[in-house]
C-alpha cells in the first residue's frame, strides 16, 4: 500500500530572493504529475524550510534560488535536516547556480542541481526516483 501513496514534495524559496516563476512552474508540473506539492512562498529561512518539510512529512525538498546565496543557504538546510535526524529527505535545487559551485553543494549533501532550461519532465522523473529510493 505504501508505494501507492502520492509522492509529497516541498517546493521552497529560501532567503530574500523574490524570483518565484521557476518555483511555481515546477510546483505545478509536479502536481500535474500526480504529486502532492507544498509551496512555501517567498522568504523562508532554512529553519522554516526544514520545519515545514518535517511537519508535512515530505519525501523530497526542492529549493529554487536565484539570489547567489546558494552556497550559504543550501548547506544550512542539509545541516539542519541532519540535526533533526532527517538527512534521508533528499534536497534538490535549481536556479542561477554556477557550475563551479556544484561540487561544493553536492559535497554538502544536495543531491542534484538543475540548471535553467531543464525540462520539468526530467525533474518529475528524478523526484519519482528519489521518492522510490526513500
Amino acid at each position: 500500500m505504501e508505494n501507492q501513496r502520492r509522492i509529497r514534495v516541498l517546493v521552497g524559496k529560501v532567503g530574500l530572493d523574490g524570483h518565484d516563476r521557476g518555483a511555481k512552474v515546477i510546483a505545478q508540473a509536479l502536481r500535474d504529475a500526480g504529486m502532492e506539492v507544498i509551496y512555501t512562498g517567498l522568504r523562508q529561512t532554512p529553519a522554516q524550510i526544514v520545519e515545514a518539510a518535517l511537519q508535512e512529512d515530505v519525501q523530497v525538498i526542492g529549493i529554487s534560488i536565484l539570489s547567489g546565496a546558494h552556497n550559504h543557504l543550501l548547506p544550512k538546510i542539509t545541516e539542519l535536516l541532519a540535526a533533526e535526524g532527517a538527512e534521508d529527505i533528499p534536497v534538490i535545487a535549481g536556479g542561477v547556480i554556477p557550475y563551479e559551485d556544484r561540487t561544493f553543494l553536492e559535497k554538502s549533501g544536495v543531491r542534484r542541481i538543475f540548471s535553467p532550461g531543464t525540462a520539468t519532465t526530467e525533474i518529475v522523473r528524478f523526484v519519482r526516483e528519489l521518492a522510490r529510493q526513500g
Binding site: 523574490g18 505545478q28 502532492e36 507544498i38 512555501t40 523562508q44 557550475y99
Partner: protein
C-alpha cells in the same frame, strides 16, 4: 490615391484561392501566433487597417496620442540613454565598475542594490546572512553612498536606482549626498523605481502592506514635484511582470493598471495631476517576438496618452507621454550555449529602439549563469553602440509606422489591453485585484503555458530544445568576493560606534511620529540619513508603525 479596403480584401481572397487551395504552398505550421497568442496572418494589406485614421491613431511624433514617439525628432536629436544596470559587492567595487562603464561611453548610471538593501535591512541583520553584496551593492548608510558615487558628478550624470519598498530612503540619501557636495537637489536627474505594486505581483521585494506603501510613493511624488523637477519619481515596471511569465499584452495591461492606481492615489491625496504626472516613467522588457515587441511599445504609448487625457483630465503634454526604459529579457537567456545570448540581446535591443525607448539596458551573455564580468558587460554596451552608430535605424522617427502588419498588431494589442484594464477596473482596481490574486494567477498560467510550449516543442529555443549540443561549462564567470559580507559588517559596526546615540534616537522618534501622522516622510528621512541613521534603522521604525506585508504562504496543491 486610396484604394478601397473592401476591394483589396476581395482581391486577397482570390489570391488565397489561387495559391493555397488544394494543398498548394503548404506551410510550416497550421497557425502562426505571437507570444501573446495574437494571430499572425499570412500577409497583411490595407484592408487590415480599415477604419484607421492617421491623425487620430498615429499622429506625428511628439504629439498626441504619441504612438510614433514622445519626441518630435527622437534619435535624430540624441540617442537613447545607454544605461547598464550594475552593482555588486561593496560600494568601492561598484564605483569602479560605474567609472569603467562611463569611460566606455555609457551615458547614464543604473544601480543594482543587494536584496538586503531592497528589503530594508542592514548588512548585520540575521536574514542578511549569505546575501550581502550578492545581486547588487550593499548600502547601509550615507557613508556607503559617498563611496558608491565618489568621483562621479551628480549634477551631470543621471542615476537610476532599482529600489522600491525603501525608495524614499535611498532618494533621501542621494539628496543628502548632493547637498554635502554643494549640489542643489533641483539639479539632480535620475529615477527611483518606487513601484511597489509589481513587487506584490511579481518581484517580491515588498516590505509594508499596500496602504502605507502607496503613501510612501505619493510622499515621494509630492516632495519631488516641489524640490526635484528633473527626477523621475517612479518607474512603473512591466519588466518584472513579463519576466515572471506574463505575455506582452499582460505586461502592458498590468503595468498601466498599476499606473492608474498610482495616479489615482496621488490625486486622492490632494495632488494635481499635472503637477506630478510629467515625472512618471515606465519600464518594459524587450523579448524575442520581434514585431509584437515593437507594436507593444507603440500601443503602450497610445493607451497611456488616452488614459491620462480622458480618465484623469491631464492637459500638460508631458503628463500624457509614456516615457520608458527598456531591458532585454533576462528570462530568454539560456544557460546552454550561452554565447548565443549575445545574438538574442542584439535583436531584443533593436526592437526597443524601433519601438522608441528613452533608455536601454542590454543584458550580458553570461547572466543566466552569474552576474556579468567586466568583459561581458562591455560587449553588452557595445551592442547598443553598434545599433546606434552603424545600422542607421536611429535616423528616421518610428521607421516601421505604416507597415500593415505592425499597425494591425499595434491595434490588436491595444484592444486586448483595454479588455484587461476593464476587467481590473471591474475587480476594484489594481491594488484590489492583486489582493485577490488576479494578476498573479494570470501570470502564472502564462508562465506554465510558455514552459509547456517549449517542452512539447511548439516553441523552439535554440540550444535548449533544438540544436542542443554537449554542454561545456563556461570558464571565468563572475564570483562575488566572499569577504564582502564581513567587510561590510565591520564597516557598519564602526559607523554605528562613531555616532551619537541620542541624535540617532531623536531622528528615529521624529520618523515614528511622522509615520504615525500624515506629514510627508521624505524631509525627516533626509534629516536622519544626513546624520548617518541607517536604512535598516529607518525601515525598522516604519515596520513598527506600518506593519509588514504577509503574503499567503504555504499553498497546498
Amino acid at each position: 490615391m486610396e484604394e478601397s479596403g473592401e476591394g483589396i480584401a476581395k482581391d486577397k481572397e482570390t489570391w488565397e484561392k489561387r495559391h493555397f487551395r488544394g494543398g498548394k504552398n503548404t506551410e510550416r505550421q497550421e497557425t502562426f501566433r505571437t507570444d501573446s497568442d495574437l494571430s499572425i496572418a499570412r500577409v497583411y494589406t490595407p484592408s487590415d487597417l480599415e477604419g484607421m485614421e492617421y491623425a487620430r491613431d498615429l499622429g506625428f511624433p511628439g504629439e498626441y496620442p504619441y504612438t510614433r514617439g514622445v519626441r518630435p525628432n527622437m534619435y535624430r536629436g540624441r540617442f537613447w540613454t545607454m544605461r547598464q544596470y550594475a552593482g555588486f559587492g561593496t560600494a568601492e567595487e561598484t564605483n569602479s565598475r560605474f567609472k569603467y562603464l562611463l569611460e566606455q561611453g555609457q551615458t547614464g548610471l543604473s544601480v543594482a542594490f543587494d536584496l538586503v538593501t531592497q528589503i530594508g535591512y542592514d548588512s548585520d541583520h540575521p536574514l542578511a546572512e549569505g546575501e550581502v553584496g550578492k545581486v547588487g551593492v550593499a548600502i547601509d548608510s550615507l557613508a556607503d553612498m559617498e563611496v558608491l558615487f565618489a568621483g562621479i558628478p551628480l549634477d551631470k550624470v543621471s542615476t537610476s536606482m532599482t529600489i522600491n519598498a525603501p525608495a524614499a530612503v535611498l532618494l533621501a540619501m542621494y539628496v543628502a549626498l548632493a547637498e554635502k557636495r554643494g549640489i542643489g537637489q533641483e539639479k539632480l536627474a535620475g529615477t527611483i523605481q518606487n513601484d511597489i505594486l509589481k513587487e506584490y505581483m511579481a518581484r517580491g521585494t515588498y516590505i509594508f502592506p499596500p496602504a502605507p506603501s502607496m503613501r510612501l510613493i505619493t510622499d515621494a511624488f509630492q516632495y519631488c514635484a516641489e524640490n526635484l523637477p528633473n527626477w523621475n519619481t517612479i518607474s512603473i515596471s512591466g519588466y518584472h511582470i513579463r519576466e515572471a511569465g506574463a505575455t506582452a499584452v499582460q505586461e502592458v495591461a498590468f503595468t498601466l493598471a498599476d499606473g492608474i492606481a498610482y495616479v489615482q492615489a496621488a490625486v486622492d491625496s490632494g495632488l494635481k495631476v499635472d503637477d506630478f504626472a510629467p515625472r512618471l516613467s515606465f519600464f518594459f522588457g524587450a523579448h524575442a517576438n520581434f514585431f509584437e515587441e515593437i507594436a507593444k511599445f507603440r500601443a503602450a504609448r497610445r493607451i497611456w496618452a488616452k488614459i491620462m487625457r480622458e480618465r484623469f483630465g491631464a492637459v500638460d503634454a508631458k503628463s500624457l507621454m509614456l516615457r520608458f526604459h527598456t531591458q532585454t529579457a533576462g528570462s530568454t537567456l539560456t544557460a546552454q550555449q550561452p554565447e548565443v545570448n549575445t545574438v538574442r540581446v542584439a535583436f531584443q535591443a533593436l526592437s526597443a529602439v524601433l519601438g522608441g525607448t528613452q533608455s536601454l539596458h542590454t543584458n550580458a551573455w553570461d547572466e543566466a549563469l552569474a552576474l556579468p564580468t567586466e568583459s561581458s558587460a562591455l560587449l553588452a554596451l557595445r551592442t547598443q553602440q553598434v545599433i546606434a552608430h552603424e545600422l542607421g535605424v536611429a535616423d528616421s522617427v518610428d521607421p516601421l509606422a505604416g507597415s500593415y502588419l505592425l499597425e494591425k498588431l499595434t491595434n490588436d494589442l491595444e484592444e486586448e489591453v483595454w479588455r484587461y484594464l476593464a476587467k481590473i477596473d471591474e475587480l476594484g482596481g489594481a491594488v484590489r485585484a492583486i489582493e485577490l490574486g488576479f494578476q498573479q494567477k494570470e501570470i502564472q498560467a502564462s508562465a506554465y503555458r510558455y514552459q509547456m510550449d517549449i517542452e512539447q516543442g511548439n516553441k523552439v529555443v535554440v540550444g535548449v530544445n533544438k540544436f542542443a549540443g554537449e554542454e561545456v561549462p563556461p570558464q571565468g564567470l563572475w564570483q562575488t568576493d566572499p569577504r564582502v559580507e564581513n567587510d561590510q559588517k565591520e564597516k557598519l559596526a564602526l559607523l554605528k560606534k562613531g555616532r551619537n546615540p541620542a541624535v540617532v534616537q531623536a531622528h528615529l522618534e521624529q520618523l515614528r511620529r511622522a509615520a504615525a501622522g500624515e506629514e510627508n516622510l521624505v524631509p525627516p528621512m533626509i534629516a536622519a540619513v544626513r546624520d548617518y541613521v541607517t536604512l535598516g534603522e529607518i525601515c525598522g521604525i516604519l515596520r513598527e508603525v506600518f506593519g509588514s506585508y504577509e503574503k499567503d504562504s504555504f499553498v497546498r496543491a
